[in-house]
Amino acid sequence: MAAFSVLNGNRECGVNHWGARLISYFLYFFQIPNARSKIILLFLDNYLSALIFAPHFYNSMTICFRMTSPHRPCIRTLFALKFIPVIFFMLSAFNATAEIDKAKWNEGKALFKSNCAACHNPKVDGTGPALMGVTARWEAAGEFKGKTGKQWLYVWIKNWNDPVNAGYKYAMDMANSRPSAMNVFATLKDEDIDKMLLYVENPDFGAAPDVTKISTPAGGEPPKESGSNTTLLIFALFLVVLVAILIGITNKLDRLVAEKNGEVVQESKIPFWKRPKWITAFVLIGIVLVGYAAVDWGTHLGRQQGYQPTQPIKFSHALHAGTHKIECQYCHGSAYKGKHANIPSVNTCMNCHKNIQKGPKYGTEEIAKIYEAVGWDSKSQTYSKTPKPIEWVRIHNLPDHVYFNHAQHVNVGKVQCQTCHGPIETMEEVYQYSPLSMGWCINCHRQTEVQFASNNYYSAYEKIHEDLKNKKLSKVTVETIGGTECQRCHY
């Protein structure tokens, strides 16, 4: 038997899980020697690797199942065994941190969040430096004027000017290392600083959920109309075949009955596809099918529903708008003000990504592209490099002979973004959701009611206001105020 090799490219695609399971079911089904033990190994192995290993670790492995030698233990299981010392190490590390006073740590975290977190983070450089290990750094700076480095740190936190004025060298270096000065916290007590340092030195103690592992909502695939059509077609074909078989059986039975009764059955020599009745039926069915296909194809000409171009940066709307619930207009702010819902300039990205340097899916790779575009040097925290435009690919292409204005729809019409753009908050990669055909526009204009009463925007429509008052009109749609006139959109 041939050797199997299962390549695990992406943890999320689940190839190895399903692959492994399929193989094990196959082995079990055909009662191949040692299959049962192998299944247990495989499942155990799946669980082990899912529990223990970080995803990036798991990704780079190539797994082989050699079915020719059933006694050979699964390579991945061996791989797992190899890392048992790592688990022990992790457990011992956990034991070491378990001595921290949880209550004090929590207080310290709260204090840090309200006083320091705007500029500092234990692990990430921000306006201020990353603080993990700060006690050791000050301790190492040495004694000065009868105070240890750690004592000077406490003085610095309360008012950073004091150690600088006293002439403590490390403090002077620190003061010059950053462009913006630290705030003064004169009211902080020593025990508060103790608690904060407890948090700063052990930021992972509380084991907060890791944000880099947020799962994005499923979906984001283009609408699979053709997919459901294919299923229907296959089903229809299956039914047709079934009917044909049944007809064949009844014919045969009829003939048998006839023969039994002694009647002479005349076999026709002409095959069925040459009989006029059948030919007519084929032609009619053909005309219907080809006609439908032609009309369907014709109406899709020039429309781009489902268009999903590959973008230069793998920006995920599912993560930003879905998981983190950032408002659409945070980035596309001019949807409210102008004809065009703008593509955000890179400085909008930098509002958050100056701080967030690593994404949950692509790590630093995609965010580095923003830095490159805006000319941000993340080491010196300055915009010192040459900026370079990002070449986004436009998805929604309306023909030039149609006028569309976002502000009118968003600001006046109060139309939700999702009405036209579909479930954007679930799209990993954006596609054109709506057909953007004229029928689609007109349909919405006919059905959508306008918020007409107490709306200054429509005060000029005196006749309609009067008709509404006299109950001549029950509702005002976009069509009533001229939303289906040609020159509304074509001028």
């Binding site: 944000v211 099918l289 400085n347 509002n351 701080n355 949950p360 030039d400």
Partner: protein
């Protein structure tokens, strides 16, 4: 005749299927188009590629406006702006600043000394401020300005990806002035980016009213006579 038809029919079917199969839009595919009259614009569409490159060599039609361009929404002859120096300054404040790190504190204080909110805190201004706050600020500063927006603290609990937690408004806003706020919103401060690109001057002042209200401070309009540009 019949024979010919039987020969041609399957070919026609295959041809139709082929046409249908490759004309639809999809992944990286815009689909086929028939007689595209007046479809492609002769004028540059927004963000369209330009055939005249920028000095840096990029084919962008979206260029930086020439110096001295009047921003959208600015009405030069509006008496409200002409007579209100605080308001006028908020349009041209940028010209007074160098944005160099060592002069930062001076410029920040200059903004505070010379700018006050010129808008009346009417219901309409506050409502617009609320709308803008929820779009632009809530994500970090939280719904009530406590510094717990959804990217700082995940709604389900736990730390968000954004590690620089903004200070709560209630703790900070009593110490700082309108001009300080205008400076921070327009040009950024610390980790916060500037929103001068996204928000008009009017919108920024509306926001400041709403933020003050959130922090429990009564928003007031500038007393015009008190403000003089140094």
């Amino acid at each position: 005749m019949k024979k010919q038809f039987i020969q041609i029919f399957p070919i026609a079917l295959i041809a139709a299927a082929w046409l249908v199969s490759c004309s639809r839009a999809g992944k990286d595919e815009t689909g086929a188009i028939y007689m595209p009259d007046m479809t492609y614009s002769n004028a540059y569409e927004t963000y369209a590629e330009s055939n005249i490159p920028t000095p840096e060599g990029y084919a962008m039609s979206a260029r930086k406006p020439v110096p001295g361009t009047i921003p959208y929404g600015y009405i030069p002859n509006d008496p409200k702006i002409k007579t209100n120096s605080a308001y006028l300054l908020s349009y041209v404040a940028k010209n007074h600043f160098t944005f160099s790190p060592d002069k930062w504190q001076q410029e920040y204080d200059y903004a505070a000394a010379n700018m006050q909110n010129p808008l009346e805190p009417t219901e309409q201004n506050l409502a617009e401020g609320k709308r803008l706050y929820e779009i632009n600020c809530k994500v970090c500063h939280g719904e009530k300005g406590e510094g717990n927006g959804q990217i700082v603290e995940l709604p389900g609990g736990g730390d968000g990806p954004y590690t620089a937690r903004p200070p709560a408004y209630s703790a900070r806003l009593k110490e700082i002035k309108d001009g300080h706020m205008f400076y921070s919103i327009s040009y950024g401060k610390g980790m916060m980016g500037g929103y001068g690109f996204q928000l008009t001057v009017n919108e920024r002042w509306q926001l400041i009213h709403y933020i003050k209200k959130l922090a429990g401070i009564e928003p007031v309009a500038a007393n015009v006579t008190n403000v003089t540009v140094k």
